[in-house]
Symmetry: none
C-alpha cells in the first residue's frame, strides 16, 4: 500500500538484523531530535560508525530513509489502534473513549521517537511527504473517531444532533494535544500529563475523555434515564 516509496533498496533487507535494527533506531532518533531538514545524514552515519555511502546504498537518499522509517512507524501504529477498536466488548461510549485515550497515550509513550517524528511532520511545511503521509494518517484517525461516535449514536449513547465529524475533530484535537503534552513538560504546562507517575497521567487522560463525553452524552437530566443506575 505505501510500498512504492518505503521499500529500501534491497541491500538493506539483507543486512544483519542487529545492524539493521541499529540503523533504524539511530536514524529515527536523529529525525526525532532534529526534524527532517535539520537531521543530518553525516550525524547519522557518525552515530552508527558506518560509511556515508552505506546509508545511501540502503535507502537511496535522505528522503528514502525517512520514507522507510515513516511507513514502518505507520504499520506499528495501526495494529494497536485497530485492536482497541475491535475489542468491542459492549463497553459504553465514555469508557471506550477513556480506553482510547489511555491506550493511545501508552503507545505514544512506548514509541516516543515515532510520535515525535509524526508530530513534527504535522507542522513542518518543508517535509518531503507531508501532504501524502499526513492526509493518510489524519484521514484514518478521523474516520476512526467518526465511526466511534456514529456507533455511539446508534446505541443512543450520544445525542443524535451531534455532528459526528465535528465530534471526531474535537476528540482528535484533544487526544493529539494530550499525547504531545505527555512528553513535553513545556506543553503540559503543569497539567500532569508529563508526570512520571502513571496513575496521575491516567487520571488526567480520563478527566479529558470524560469532559468530552459529558458534552456528547444526552442531557441526562431528562427523565426516563435508561442508565440512571450506572
Amino acid at each position: 500500500m505505501d510500498a512504492q516509496s518505503a521499500t529500501p533498496l534491497s541491500t538493506f533487507d539483507k543486512l544483519d538484523p542487529q545492524k539493521r535494527g541499529r540503523v533504524l533506531e539511530e536514524s529515527l532518533a536523529e529525525f526525532a531530535e532534529h526534524g527532517y531538514h535539520q537531521a543530518s545524514v553525516n550525524r547519522i552515519v557518525g552515530r552508527l560508525g558506518i560509511a556515508k555511502g552505506s546509508l545511501f546504498q540502503y535507502f537511496g537518499s535522505k528522503e528514502g530513509l525517512f520514507r522507510h522509517l515513516f511507513s514502518r512507524a505507520l504499520e506499528e501504529i495501526k495494529t494497536p489502534l485497530k485492536a482497541i477498536r475491535d475489542a468491542d466488548t459492549g463497553e459504553a461510549f465514555p469508557l471506550r473513549l477513556r480506553r482510547v485515550f489511555v491506550e493511545g497515550a501508552a503507545f505514544a509513550r512506548s514509541h516516543p521517537l515515532i510520535w515525535r517524528v509524526y508530530r513534527r511532520m504535522v507542522t513542518q511545511d518543508g517535509f518531503p511527504l507531508r501532504e501524502q503521509l499526513l492526509s493518510q494518517v489524519r484521514g484514518e484517525a478521523l474516520t476512526y473517531f467518526r465511526e466511534l461516535v456514529e456507533g455511539g449514536q446508534t446505541r443512543g449513547e450520544i445525542r443524535p444532533e451531534v455532528d459526528p465529524l465535528a465530534a471526531a475533530f474535537l476528540i482528535e484535537a484533544a487526544l493529539d494535544r494530550a499525547l504531545t503534552a505527555q512528553d513535553s513538560p513545556l506543553l503540559d504546562a503543569g497539567f500532569g500529563l508529563s508526570s512520571n507517575d502513571e496513575s496521575t497521567r491516567r487520571a488526567r487522560l480520563a478527566a479529558l475523555a470524560d469532559m468530552l463525553s459529558r458534552g456528547l452524552m444526552p442531557p441526562t437530566g431528562d427523565t426516563n434515564a435508561p442508565r440512571a443506575h450506572d
Copy 2:
C-alpha cells in the same frame, strides 16, 4: 520582560519607520514560509534589497532577528485577547466561549504570518527560544482559559467538580487545532474550518465551542441546556 533578547542593537530603532516596517514584514514572511532553520538570511536581504551586513548590524544574528520578531508578535497577540476577556458584558459562558473561538480565529486569519511562525515553533525542537517563548505563551493562554472557567464556576455556569486546569487544557487544545485547521485544508480534512465562506467557518467554530460547553455545564435537570437564560 523578554527584553534581554528582543532588543535590537539600537541601530534598528533609528531607521526610517517605513524601512523598519518592511524589514520586519519580509523577515516574518521568510520565517513563516520556511521555519526557523530553513529560513535564509540571504533570501531575506534579497527580498529587501539591503546589504547582508545591515541585518546583522540591526539584530546581531539570525537568532536575534527571530527573537525580535517574536516578541513583537507576542505584544500584538496579547492586546486583542485581553480585549475579549475584559469585554465582560455579563455574557453567559457558552457565548463567551464562542466569542473566544470566533475572535481567536479572526486574529489568526488576519495575522497569518505570526500564527504560522508560532505554530512552527510549537513543534520544532530546534528553535532557538522555543522553551522560553513557548512556556510564556502557553502559560498565558492556559491562565486565560482557567480564569474563564473559574469565573464560570463562580457564576454557577460550570459544574463545580470540573477541574479548571483540565478544562483550560481542553479548550486550548480545541482552539489551537481549530486555528491551525483554518489555514490548512490538509489538517481541516473536510471539516470546513478552512472554507472560504466566513459563515461556514463561524458555524464550525461555534459547533466546537458548544460541544465543549455542553460537557462543562451542570447536568441541568432543566431541559434545553446552554442557553437557559439568554
Copy 3:
C-alpha cells in the same frame, strides 16, 4: 597489437557467450550515452543485473572495460573499410570517393554506439587511452586515404601537384564531419545528412565527395587560376 590492454582477465572468456555478448553491448551503450567519465559502472551492472564485483573480475577496472570494448570495436571497423578499399574494380576516383563516403556513412549508421564512443574519444582529453587509440585509428584512416589519392595520381585521375597527405587530411575531415552530422541534427544544421530519407542522405554525401573531387571553382579553361603550373 593492442593486446596489452585489451585482454580481459581470462575469466571473461569463459563466460556463456550470450551473457558475454550482453555485457559488451550494455557497456558500450553506457559509454556511448555518457562518455568515459560520465559513464557509471553502477549503471552498467544495473542494466545487466550482475554483481558489481563481476565486472571488476572480468576487466579489472573501468578503464580495462573500456579498453576491451574499444579494441573490439576497432577490429569491427577495420574489416569493412578494407573491403571497400580492396573492392578496387577499376572505378574512377570520383566514384570511389563517393563509395567511401556512402559506405562509411552506412557503417557509422549501423554501429551508432561504436561511432559515438569514437567521436567522444576524439575530443575528450580525459580519456584513458586517447593518445594510443587515437593515433592508431587516425593513422590508419589517413594512410588509407593517402593511398587512395596516390593511386589516383598514378592513374592520372588526380592532379600530380596535389599533396597526398593534404588531400587525405581534407577527405578525412569531410568524412568525419559528415558521419558526425548524420546522427546529430544539431551538427547537421539543416544540410540533410541527418535526414531519415536514405536517398537524401546519399545525395548529400555524393555532393560532398564530388565537391572534393572537382573543387568549388569553375573548370577554368582560363588562365589565371591559382597557379596552374606549380
Copy 4:
C-alpha cells in the same frame, strides 16, 4: 543577446579587475583541460586560492560559471571573424578563403583555451548548454561561409551549380579540423598544422584552402584538355 544566462551575479563585476582576470583565466583553463563534467570547482578555487563560496557568489553555480566563460568567448570570436568578412577588398575567392583559414587559425592559436572548450562542447553530449550554444555558433559559422560562397557565385568565381549550403558545410568541416589539428599533434598526424614554424603552418592552411577552391581532379573532366598548352 546571450545576456540572460551569462550575466554574473553582479558581485563579480565589482571585483578588482586583476583578480577578475585571474578567475576567468584559471576557470577557462580548468574547463579546457577537463571538459565540463570533469572540471572541478574544488580545483578551480584551489588554483585561485580563494574560498569555495566565493566562486558560487560570483556565478551561482558551476553551470553559471561556464555560461559566463562561454559567452565571453563568443564575443571575442565574433569580432575578428566579422572583420575578415567585412575587409572586402575586392579579393578573389581563393585568396579570401586562404585568409579565412589563416586568420581563423591565428585566432584559435592565440585563444587555445576558448578553442578547446568549444571543441569539447561540440562532442560532449552532457554539456549543459550544448544545444543552445552549439546551434548558435554553428549557425553563425555556416551562414558566414554560405554568404561567402554565394558572393563568389555572384561574381562568377564559383561554379553556379555548387550548392552553397553544401560548400559551407565542407569548408566548415575542413577549417574546424585544421584548427583542431593545430594544437594536437595527435590529430595533426604529421601533416604539419601543429608545427611550431609559422610559415609551415601557413603553407598547410593555404594548401587546404586551395584544394577546396580547385578540387582534387585535373582542371577539366573534359578530355580535350583545354590547358594542354599551359
